[in-house]
């Protein structure tokens, strides 16, 4: 997933990095095809060059040697709301048919069965980043037809499309999972099957998703990770296997 997510990033882009796999993907992209990627963390570190894999988005390794550290009022107002962030990574407990993400509650808000951490910066990243990429493992529980709570809006929330809600960013253009890549249909905003990992069938992916998953015109095949990338991930970027579990 990390290597597939890394391919979503072009050199020179400004990316709002979340913790976990997105962080790994961004650092992999920076170490390979995108040396001029500018990593921004909601903690205030801009142009970070972490010497070790950060264990949180507030890790001291993100500060030492970074280009700029600013307060969080600046992060959200001058960078994000200002429209300076080109790509934002998002993840969540639930992702639905229109790319809405839930990181707030399973169950009702008032009587939650599972209380999740909440938005953090995800709601505003989903609204403002020029595009977002969702990273999440595929399962029927994680991909319901409709999320229990819209923390971070996708292409349609409550039936209303993004542009009618005047959201500045383009929303989740791609969803990177462990079996396939989904992409947002440009018109309907619905997530459809875009590419399959080697050895995975479309039926398998459809069975892992809570709505009748449509397939794009050309369902591609995801290239397997390059040996060099795996080597980098395992030896250099995450030698302690903090994120590369299983």
């Amino acid at each position: 997933m990390a290597t597939v997510a890394a391919r979503e990033l072009a050199d020179g882009e400004v990316v709002f990095v979340g913790i976990g796999l997105p962080n790994l993907a961004c650092n992999l992209a920076r170490a390979t095809h995108a040396p001029n990627l500018v990593l921004i963390y909601e903690s205030g570190a801009v142009g970070a060059v972490p010497e070790r894999l950060p264990v949180s988005i507030g890790d001291p390794a993100l500060v030492t040697g970074s280009l700029m550290v600013c307060g969080m009022a600046d992060v959200f107002q001058l960078f994000l709301q200002n429209g300076r962030i080109e790509v934002g990574f998002l993840g969540g407990a639930q992702v639905d048919r229109y790319g809405n993400i839930n990181t707030t509650v399973i169950g009702t808000y008032e009587r939650p069965r599972v209380r999740l951490p909440g938005s953090g910066g995800a709601a505003e990243i989903a609204i403002h980043a020029r595009r977002t990429v969702i990273v999440s493992k595929l399962s029927p529980r994680a991909f319901p037809e409709q999320v229990d709570f819209v923390t971070s809006p996708g292409h349609r929330s409550g039936g209303v499309p993004r542009d009618a809600l005047r959201m500045p960013g383009a929303g989740p253009v791609r969803v990177i999972t462990d079996k396939a890549i989904l992409a947002a249909d440009p018109e309907a905003g619905e997530l459809i099957l875009a590419a399959l990992y080697p050895g995975v069938t479309a039926a398998e992916v459809k069975a892992s998703v809570g709505w009748p998953l449509a397939a794009g015109r050309d369902v591609g095949c995801v290239d397997p990770p390059a040996a060099r990338d795996l080597e980098l991930l395992r030896r250099v970027l995450d030698p302690k296997k903090l994120y590369l579990k299983g």
């Binding site: 949180s56 209380r115 929330s157």
Partner: protein, 305 residues
């Protein structure tokens, strides 16, 4: 008015003087410079009915919730950063009988904007946000305002005015002029929004150190009520240039906080069982050596004219 009463005092005295039952308390810091020492002293002094506000409740608010200090939580992300859940928080919120802890929930930008409004003494702050999310449904204090120029409808959040904000920093002088570097989060805004401010520092320095680099000062002494010298006061959080984050403890908290009894034993031993932070550190031989920061010095600047 710059008060002439001495501000430098022990953590015990600062909490006794400035944190009262029922207060809205902010211990800010985004991963960095979270003042666990102050949270522990609040637990030791048995404060109750507190409204705890901060962006990321973190382990310290989980401990305060477990210890019975909190009536309400105002927040935007309640997790164990990089690890998982805050289980005392989850136990207080999940389940069929409904939450035992009142919640007022925003996103990070919303919380930052609440502090910004408080610091500027404006009743609200506008932000382009929340369209399409269920957050305004969960929290009716998220409202809207119409731009007088463009007619656009923007989201608003109300100002937050804590009774007391506690800021941990690398250094301050005896008057409370405070310098921080590394991640500075929303501490400046929280302090200016607050009725009272306690600054806790790794080093108490001479005024001349502060005056040698005035652009580094984030919080002026004139808004500070108490200055506490408490080295290692942010552990298991960290202080850039002083000590690293104790990630092992964050990982261990997953296990400790899952179990009420284990959590109680933790509080008994490391909070109630110690008098102050120095005693807490004595219980952890080797910690200081393991986490002590390496040297990475900033290039100099000249302030002459």
């Amino acid at each position: 008015m710059a008060d002439s009463a001495p501000k430098v005092m022990s953590m015990h005295a600062a909490i006794a003087a400035h944190v009262h039952d029922g207060d809205t308390v902010v211990i800010e810091g985004f991963t960095h410079l979270i003042c666990f020492a102050a949270g522990h002293e609040i637990i030791r002094q048995g404060r109750t009915n507190l409204t705890l506000a901060r962006l990321t409740p973190d382990l310290i608010y989980d401990q305060m919730i477990a210890a019975g200090c909190a009536r309400k939580l105002v927040f935007s992300w309640a997790g164990n950063p990089g690890v998982g859940s805050l289980h005392a928080f989850r136990r207080a919120v999940e389940g069929e009988n409904g939450p035992r802890l009142e919640l007022e929930e925003y996103s990070h930008f919303g919380m930052v904007a609440r502090f910004a409004a408080g610091a500027a003494r404006l009743p609200f702050w506008p932000l382009r946000n929340y369209m399409g999310t269920d957050l305004p449904r969960a929290n009716p204090r998220i409202a809207t305002v119409t731009c007088p120029y463009t007619g656009e409808v923007l989201a608003t959040v109300p100002a937050l005015h804590p009774d007391v904000t506690i800021v941990h920093a690398q250094r301050a002088d005896a008057a409370g002029n405070t310098q921080m570097w590394g991640l500075v989060g929303v501490q400046k805004e929280a302090a200016f929004a607050s009725r009272r401010v306690i600054v806790v520092v790794e080093e108490l320095v001479d005024e001349s150190v502060i005056r040698s680099d005035p652009n580094r000062t984030l919080i002026p002494g004139m808004i500070v009520d108490a200055v506490v010298l408490e080295p290692w006061g942010a552990h298991p959080s960290y202080a850039q240039g002083y000590y690293d984050r104790d990630n092992d403890f964050y990982v261990a908290w997953e296990r400790i906080s899952r179990d009420r009894d284990e959590l109680r034993r933790y509080l008994d031993e490391f909070v109630h069982g110690v008098r102050d932070r120095a005693a807490y550190m004595e219980k952890r031989p080797g910690l200081a050596t393991r986490l002590k920061a390496k040297q990475r010095h900033a290039s100099g600047v000249n302030y002459g004219f």
